[in-house]
Symmetry: C2
Subunit: 180 residues, 2 copies
DNA sequence: CCTTACATGTAACAAGTTACATGATTAG
DNA sequence: CTAATCATGTAACTTGTTACATGTAAGG
């Protein structure tokens, strides 16, 4: 129910085209909300027919016309309504944990290999987030509330990765103990 | 793509009815995989027509006939194939983080209230997981590999909750600082 | 009397994924 | 010549949610 609100929030920051929104989701929102470009375009069209967004069409030669979306008063109201209501926590659906649950059917080397693959990604992301965090601290403290709030989302990304890395360590310790 | 594999894994442990599987998902798998009973019944029917499960129908008076599903050789093979392949990490889609991203539009008291609500749930779950963990340690170490693997999934649940509680603390610290 | 447990579903819908389509420009 | 960037989509499919349906028996 909340891709629409993710889009409204992103467009409330800055009016944007579907293409730009897709980039923002990939580059700055991957630890908050994911969406494919197909989903984004579909939802933007809906939000526009519902009057929560307005389009300004910018004709282009060679490429499809650019459609820049901006939020309307109704859009802001809808977003605020959602922000004010308590939302349910997302359900857990994790293939990696399912492999642990499957226990005796999951071969140790396969699990270890998978762990190594994911660990690489985690460390890469951790490095990126830490860089952004460093930039945050180079700015005078309590600059804008908006900025501080977004920093909290980043912190969550970091804490999440850290806890996965701790877990990976525990898994390795236990599996090696079991082999010995 | 993996509710089917969650079901295959659960049924591989013990043959079960849809009703029982729904209970197991709620009681023992909520930190691994979630599914509603509708989804479970739908998927069980599919898995049966595909020959990955077999049904044994136990007639009952008054209630609908009980259908007990067991895994077939083909089912085990399909499950092992999936377990052996590296799976992508699930995408993040978190309403709470979206509220942080929305920053200046999210009222501080609303966020604090939501945090308090979720924190209660986290602490409750934490207590439950810790009890199960204590039971784990009361058993002679390295009993069965299966059991140890499932313990790892539990550990992940605990680490996840702990990192959320840490984050909740950071959020509170920052928002109170901002108000002062 | 009312709720919970038992035991299965159907139907409609919303959300997310995967594959395909178009066509120009720029960088290697 | 090849791949990536720009910029938009459609179509088909799978997965997950929500609402509704049926009917018994036990416990407070």
């Amino acid at each position: 129910m909340s891709l629409r609100h993710a889009l409204l929030a992103a467009i409330h920051e800055t009016a944007a085209t579907g293409y730009e929104l897709n980039q923002r989701f990939e580059e700055r929102l991957s630890h908050v909300w994911s969406a494919s470009h197909q989903q984004i375009y579909r939802e933007l069209a809906r939000l526009e027919t519902q009057g929560l967004l307005v389009v300004e069409i910018q004709p282009q030669a060679g490429k499809p016309d650019r459609k820049r979306y901006a939020i309307t008063a109704a859009g802001i109201k809808a977003l605020q309504g959602w922000l004010g209501a308590v939302q349910a926590r997302p359900a857990v659906r994790d293939p990696l944990l399912l492999k642990c649950f499957a226990g005796d059917l999951t071969p140790t080397p396969a699990l270890l290999k998978e762990l190594a693959v994911h660990e690489q990604t985690w460390r890469r992301e951790q490095a990126i987030y830490r860089q952004i965090e460093a930039r945050y601290f180079s700015v005078p403290p309590s600059l804008s509330r908006h900025y501080r709030m977004q920093y909290l989302a980043l912190r969550r990304g970091l804490l999440d990765i850290e806890s996965w890395l701790v877990w990976a360590g525990e898994v390795r310790a236990m599996l090696e103990q079991g082999d010995a």
